[in-house]
């Protein structure tokens, strides 16, 4: 399925894993942004990050999540989506879209030796 096909937003897109153009996991479709273009709402972006849980979780649960991991959201423009199946494939790299900040931060904490 491509971004131009008709898509069930909840059944066929929400909460699917996202892979970048190199096949690396780089998030989950945590929410979907819609834009109203001349009365016909269209998907404009995927929202990735715990900040997008707002409205999807009970208020107390979201407050707890925000306290533990923050409320950052990364916006992935719909134009970056290549295909949609059991995962959403992007045609750009995670780095270009700002989806790899936390992986990079974690990577700096680890030594880069000793593994086969």
């Amino acid at each position: 399925m491509t971004p131009r096909d008709e898509i069930q937003l909840v059944g066929g897109l929400l909460d699917l894993p996202i892979l970048d153009c190199e096949g690396r996991y780089c998030g989950i479709v945590d929410d979907i942004e819609l834009a109203d273009e001349s009365g016909a709402p269209r998907v404009s972006a995927l929202l990735v990050g715990p900040g997008a849980y707002r409205g999807r979780l009970p208020r107390w649960a979201f407050a707890l999540v925000r306290r533990i991991v923050g409320a950052h959201v990364t916006r992935v423009p719909w134009s970056a989506v290549k295909t949609i199946a059991s995962a959403v494939e992007l045609d750009r790299s995670a780095g270009e879209l700002g989806l790899d900040r936390f992986e990079q931060r974690a990577e700096r904490l680890l030594p880069h030796r000793g593994a086969l």
């Binding site: 066929g12 929400l14 909460d15 699917l16 894993p17 996202i18 690396r24 996991y25 780089c26 998030g27 989950i28 945590d30 990735v48 849980y53 999807r56 979780l57 009970p58 649960a61 059991s86 995962a87 936390f102 992986e103 990079q104 974690a106 990577e107 904490l109 680890l110 030594p111 880069h112 000793g114 593994a115 086969l116």
Partner: protein, 411 residues
């Protein structure tokens, strides 16, 4: 299908089947109720074959592990509840495995259990850091095959084979008091939980992705589940049978993980004892790695992080930090000095409560035409799957009252 790969996969499944809970509950069940609980082992083994096969098939066909798709199927709220419940269940199980391995090392070396738990954790963390997935899986699985010494010991004591065969027929022993019947039911539920631990399907399906399974591997998946889990379960049944033959008549309640090794020492002497302890050590260590990785897989997949040990640890950094932290937490639980047997009981109790949440989305996913196309569940897999789902739902509802009534299965 490469026959050598298939054989190695099956042997790995056999060696990796038994964990500390199965060891303890098999030995206690045999001592307390003779052969009367063998059928529960056999029944639960068919259950884990059914759900294991489904999880491997989902991984091979949808090319996504179960936890990734589970969130999509359950939604964020219920998915988060399942994640938190499985984190707790897997963490307690991992702590029980680390504690169990530390007790075995203590028996082998005489050093303190706390020191051995520390050493064990360092070795396990080091193994995952150094070895890629296939080596970890194979090394611990194949070393766990030393557990076959339990089967040799059973043959040596020449038990009443007809009585053991009779144990495969579903039964409730006659003439038990209400108290004993309640304990029998508790052991039944505990065995279902220990054989069908949720971590097993998370680990198995993620392992399928780590091993780069595709549709061509569906036959390997099916054979590994049926033959590997079947033979692994027979090993657990030999522990139960030896215990029924040796401990039951003497009214010995083998409560410690190390007690089961005496089943081998009696017919085979010191060498047998050493082999039994080593086999148990490898099997429990393998289970500790599986529980920890299964937990890290679940967390990483739920949030869409890079994951897997087919990559270098620094190429999936959040996943790597997660499994290291989980091992440290499991060690911290053991170092509080909590009795390992209590940990085993809690692990089994938490797991049975999580089982329905684990298996429901798996059933839905494996039947989903969009993801599974022509490989979705047929009527046999669906019938067995839903049948077992009802059983684990009933077992989950009964688990807490039975745990309280029997004080965790105490005699």
């Amino acid at each position: 299908m490469n026959p050598l790969e298939l054989m190695l996969g099956i042997l790995t499944a056999v060696g990796g089947f038994v964990d500390v809970s199965e060891l303890v509950f098999a030995a206690q069940a045999g001592s307390g109720f003779g052969y009367a609980l063998i059928w529960v082992f056999a029944f639960s083994t068919i259950g884990i074959m059914v759900f294991g096969e489904m999880s491997g098939r989902v991984a091979a066909v949808a090319q996504q592990p179960v936890f990734n798709l589970m969130r999509h199927r359950l939604g964020l709220g219920l998915g988060l509840v399942t994640l938190i419940a499985s984190i707790l269940s897997n963490l307690i199980t991992c702590a029980a495995e680390v504690g169990g391995a530390a007790i075995i090392l203590h028996l082998l070396t005489g050093a303190s259990t706390a020191l051995m738990a520390l050493a064990m954790t360092a070795v396990l963390v080091g193994s995952i850091w150094v070895l890629p997935f296939k080596w970890i899986e194979r090394a611990y699985g194949l070393l766990g095959l030393v557990m076959i010494v339990f089967a040799v010991a059973l043959v040596k004591i020449d038990p009443p084979w007809a009585a053991i065969a009779g144990g495969f027929v579903p039964q409730v022993p006659q003439g038990l008091s209400v108290r004993e019947l309640t304990r029998f039911a508790y052991f039944g539920v505990a065995i279902v939980s220990a054989v069908m631990f949720p971590y097993e399907v998370y680990f198995y399906s993620s392992g399928g992705i780590e091993d780069e399974w595709g549709v061509k591997d569906l036959a390997v998946n099916r054979l590994t589940c049926i033959v590997g889990f079947g033979l692994g379960s027979l090993l657990a049944i030999t522990i139960l049978s030896s215990s029924a033959q040796l401990f039951g008549p003497l009214h010995i309640d083998p409560q410690l993980p190390g007690s089961a090794a005496l089943e081998v020492e009696l017919p085979m002497g010191r060498t047998g004892l050493l082999l039994a302890l080593l086999g148990m050590l490898f099997a429990i260590s393998g289970a500790a790695i599986e529980t920890c990785l299964a937990n890290a897989y679940g967390i990483a997949q739920f949030f869409g992080w890079k994951w897997g040990r087919r990559k270098k640890p620094w190429d999936a950094p959040r996943f790597t930090l997660t499994w290291i932290i989980l091992f440290v937490l499991a060690l911290a639980i053991v170092l509080t000095g909590i009795d390992v047997m209590r940990l085993v009981e809690f692990a089994v109790l938490f797991s049975i409560l999580v089982l329905p949440l684990t298996y429901l989305p798996l059933l839905l996913l494996a039947s989903d035409r969009r993801f599974m196309r022509t490989h979705r569940n047929g009527w046999i897999a669906n019938g067995l799957g839903w049948g077992y789902f009802v059983v684990i739902l009933v077992a989950a509802l009964a688990a807490v009252p039975l745990f309280i009534l029997t004080s965790g299965g105490q005699a």
